[in-house]
């Protein structure tokens, strides 16, 4: 019997201890401390590759870099046109080959004065070190020399005029921190010791690889300190979990939502959704006869697609309105040129005379007229006897591609063109399109406020020198387009340059090496019960995240007096702790009951042995 009693005593003690442990959280967590810092928590659904601004290539990390280091000039929140950053003024020489920037009086976050020498160091490092060109190298390709003639004057000379001089998306770094870095690709360049000194509204104070980036307000920021004390970028590998976290108040801001997620968040209390004009366009590439830099044909595109009349008929047989409505859930804009309407200065919108209006009868008539009669099986035949049967290459993993291919195949079937679906992995799409092994293929690009890059991708000069190494987007090569491109690239006057850029896009539109299908909206959401204001870029209808600047974070205004309380929501609400504690206690009691019942039934037997 004594054995039984001691077992019971042991059990009771264990039970008590476990209950105490379970209840501890409730006892330990006192009331929230007063004067919590205001924290804006941002969900990142994309990986964090580097914090080193020379190598940070992902949209997520480029965004963090833009907050941490100020630029010479940057696109404004109002209309994306250049506005002063570190440079108070900028003056090009008459020939456009020499630019002089006047640098403002400012300090780095560690108190060291910021001078033109820092800017000169940044650019010179990129010009001399390939590893430092990884993220933003295209901006310095035409740079001849960069010198700081004194602390306030930076002079850049160019090999040839470059229109993007007022939109250099290059974070300027402190020379006293970075001059000691010999290997730009080394892991130490991603540590706070290196990336923790900045000149932007917030500076990086903590980094947990691919998990968390913490930034604190920079008191030395030249525009004045921001209204939020801290930013936290937390990485989610599952977008649905991130949406859930926004609903629960674990995070305050999220982007890259799908239309389904966006609709689910619409009208939720305390949450404001933001449907922003997108910076990306989706397109259907039509192989115009791929060729290499020496104008030798490459790839295996269908010869009939070299005929611009066939390409135009295809463009007329596609209805972007249906794609936007049915595939994008209405979250997209109707197409025009390759610069999205978000950058309205340079965006080309075709007039009624040029526009490819969806009209299957007209497309059919045009093909009849061009000498592609329908055969007995309803499929058209080219003058050379080949049937108009085209492969349609798309990304198997993307819902968009899977659905667009069905619509396009249906429409083209109506005009006597047979489509074979080739939905493959992203890598295979890349491989076949860059080798010219496609007839029709889905593609798309994100664009910058400065249109130079996306326009340059359509020139003859970027045709592949060797097979498979192309920067050309659609194997477009057209003398008239190249002429207009060169004019815009060398034009310092924005209004004139925009005119040339639009004419170049009009030429592209007319020649149809690809059909722009839509501009996807950027879908975002934030906790408006915690932040009353976040600045969009552009202010009317623009995005909050992945801007060409730091406007949303710098302009964030915590909501009223509740903000301090809201700052605590990263931890657990007390209610939750009590619930967990209670749950644990119940569990322990249950286990205790079960164990004791076993003890009872086994008791006598225990004695026996």
């Amino acid at each position: 019997m004594r054995a039984v009693r001691s077992t019971w005593r042991r059990r009771a003690a264990a039970l008590g201890a476990t209950a105490l442990v379970a209840a501890a959280p409730v006892l330990a967590i006192g009331p929230a401390q007063a004067q919590q810092p205001t924290v804006l928590r941002v969900a990142l659904v994309q990986s964090i590759d580097h914090l080193n601004p020379f190598t940070a290539s992902f949209a997520s990390t480029a965004m963090i870099g833009r907050i941490s280091w100020e630029f010479l000039t940057l696109p404004s929140a109002e209309d994306n046109l250049p506005t002063p950053g570190l440079a108070e003024t900028w003056t090009p020489s008459p020939d456009g080959l020499t630019w002089t920037f006047k640098i403002r009086e400012a300090k780095w976050s560690d108190g060291t004065p910021l001078t033109a020498k820092d800017a000169a160091f940044t650019f010179n490092r990129m010009m001399s070190d390939p590893a430092a060109r990884e993220a933003n190298g295209t901006f310095v390709e035409q740079f001849q020399t960069v010198t700081a003639t004194d602390d306030r004057t930076l002079t850049v000379t160019l090999k040839k005029p470059q229109a993007s001089m007022t939109a250099l998306d290059v974070p300027i770094v402190p020379e006293h921190i970075w001059s000691g870095v010999t290997d730009m690709a080394s892991p130490e360049t991603d540590t706070v010791a290196k990336v923790g000194v900045g000149s932007g509204p917030f500076t990086i104070t903590e980094y947990q690889t691919n998990q968390l980036v913490r930034m604190k307000a920079n008191p030395n920021y030249w525009r004045g300190a921001p209204k939020v004390d801290e930013l936290q970028f937390v990485k989610f590998d599952n977008a649905d979990a991130a949406v859930n976290a926004l609903k629960n108040g674990e995070v305050d801001l999220i982007n890259r939502l799908t239309s389904t997620q966006f609709d689910a968040l619409n009208g939720q209390p305390g949450i404001t959704t933001n449907k922003a004009v997108g910076r990306r366009y989706d397109e259907l590439l039509i192989n115009p006869g791929a060729q290499n830099f020496d104008r030798q044909p490459i790839g295996d595109g269908h010869p009939a697609l070299k005929d611009v009349r066939v390409r135009k008929a295809i463009a007329r047989a596609i209805d972007p309105a249906t794609i936007i409505d049915k595939v994008l859930g209405g979250y997209g804009e109707a197409p025009g040129g390759i610069v999205p309407p978000m950058f309205k200065t340079y965006h080309y919108a075709p007039g009624p005379a040029e526009k490819y209006t969806f009209d299957l009868a007209a497309a059919n008539a045009a093909l009849d007229q061009a000498g592609y009669p329908k055969g007995p099986d309803g499929i058209r035949v080219a003058p050379d006897g080949r049937k108009l049967e085209f492969r349609f290459t798309g990304h198997a993993t993307r819902d968009y591609d899977q659905r667009v291919v069905k619509y396009v195949a249906g429409w083209l079937g109506e005009i006597g063109i047979k489509i074979t679906e080739v939905l493959v992995s992203d890598n295979e799409v890349d491989e076949s399109t860059s080798a010219g092994n496609y007839d029709l293929a889905l593609s798309g690009w994100g664009t910058n406020p400065d249109p130079d890059y996306i326009l340059a991708k359509q020139t003859c000069s970027v045709l592949p020198a060797t097979a498979g190494s192309t920067s050309s987007n659609a194997f477009f090569c057209d003398a008239e387009y190249d002429r207009l491109y060169a004019l815009q690239a060398a034009e310092p006057d924005i209004a004139k340059r925009a005119e040339y850029a639009k004419q170049a896009q009009a030429r592209y539109y007319d020649q149809v090496p690809s059909v722009v299908l839509d501009y996807k909206s950027a879908l975002e959401a934030y906790r408006s019960d915690k932040f009353s204001e976040l600045t969009r870029q552009p202010v009317s209808g623009g995005a909050l995240m992945e801007q060409s600047g730091y406007w949303s974070f710098y302009g964030a205004v915590p909501a009223g007096e509740d903000a301090a309380a809201a700052g605590d929501s990263g931890g657990l609400p007390t209610v939750a702790w009590i619930a967990i504690g209670a749950g644990a206690v119940i569990l322990v009691v249950l286990i205790g009951v079960v164990v004791s019942r076993r003890g009872k039934s086994a008791g006598s037997a225990d004695d026996k042995e």
Binding site: V234, A245, D426, A605
Partner: protein, 342 residues
């Protein structure tokens, strides 16, 4: 990993009756370890070839959607070493392996070994906790279900186990996340706002661990339960149990002292065999809860595709299966006298 093997050798049962014991066991161990090493070598070669057979060029993938000039692409290729001939790449990789160098990640520019090193412990914590709970729960339920074969309890438990076993982990995790309404964190292992201190930090980790652990537990306990149930059912008709009952022993004693120990054999082996597989099975659970472990690292590497990282993770995951297999075989020999005698 080698440590695990050496403890296994140390775990020999002192058995005075076993005359050929020493040399036999040694020979057996040497053979098993040799076979394990061959498997690992195959894993290295296969991993290398497999990830290079994926169509596409890592450099093109990495630079997708960002401004790059052909010159930059060439610089990047040279830096990553993908411009070298395949055979030379393999020998570079293999030579590095022998020096304990798993290479450098393409995307993160960090040594793969260091990246894997910092991700091992979260996975061990998650898998370890879930496995321990799954074993306890699975064995307990399995024994109960077998003993009351055909009862309502047995039918319900078996049904639940089969259901949970066949439910997709991804979906289950997400449902738990949505159902708990923010009671538990949606991501990661720690919260950035935890006040410092051992107690608060441990509590924070436990709080984050709950949901991923439950998800993993729900999926793996079922297997242990079903195996335990079937192996106990096999024992239940054995003569020695009839003898034990005939001696007048109480029913639960017969179960605990006689039947269960014998039925444990296949289950214990399965636990170890499974342990290696469970590590790779965490990919989905870790991806749902952004749990910073090896599974998530695999997921991130695949997105790249970050070849050196993929190869490293592949090697570790496959290696853990090989080592655990070895461990299970040795353990089985130790536990089951019949195997030893043969």
């Amino acid at each position: 990993m080698t440590e695990a093997v050496s403890t296994a050798t140390g775990a020999e049962l002192p058995d005075p009756d076993e005359r050929r014991g020493g040399t036999g066991t040694l020979r057996f161990l040497a053979g098993k370890i040799g076979a394990g090493l061959v498997s690992l070598l195959l894993v290295v070669v296969l991993g290398f070839l497999l990830f290079r057979m994926i169509p596409g060029d890592p450099v093109t993938t990495m630079t997708r959607d960002r401004p790059t000039s052909p010159q930059q692409l060439a610089e990047l290729r040279a830096r990553l070493g993908v411009d070298k001939p395949m055979l030379q790449q393999f020998f570079d990789y293999f030579g590095g392996l022998l020096r304990g160098d798993l290479g450098t990640s393409y995307i993160y520019n960090r040594p793969v070994a260091a990246m894997i090193g910092e991700r091992v412990w979260p996975t061990v914590l998650l898998v370890g906790t879930a496995t321990v709970l799954a074993v306890v729960l699975g064995l307990w339920l399995g024994v109960r279900a077998a003993w009351k074969r055909g009862s309502a309890f047995d039918k319900v438990q078996t049904g639940v186990a089969l259901t949970l076993w066949s439910v997709p982990q991804f979906w289950l995790g997400l449902m738990l996340l949505i159902a708990t309404q923010g009671l538990f964190p949606s991501r990661g292992m720690t919260s950035p706002d935890t006040p410092p201190g051992f107690f608060t930090e441990a509590l924070d980790v436990a709080h984050h661990l709950t949901l991923p652990c439950l998800t993993l537990l729900a999926v793996i306990y079922a297997q242990y339960m079903l195996v335990m149930r079937s192996s106990l059912l096999e024992e239940m008709n054995a003569d020695y149990l009839t003898t034990a009952r005939a001696k007048g022993l109480r029913d639960d004693l017969v179960r605990r002292r006689h039947a269960v120990p014998n039925a444990l054999l296949p289950t214990v082996t399965l636990v170890f065999l499974q342990f290696g597989l469970v590590v790779s099975g965490t990919v989905t659970v870790e991806a749902v809860f952004s749990w910073p472990g090896l599974g998530l690292l695999t997921f991130e590497a695949l997105r790249g595709p970050d070849l050196p990282l993929l190869q490293g993770v592949f090697l570790i995951l496959a290696g853990s299966v090989v080592v655990m297999n070895l461990f299970a075989e040795v353990l089985y020999r130790v536990l089951d006298p019949r195997v030893r005698a043969s």
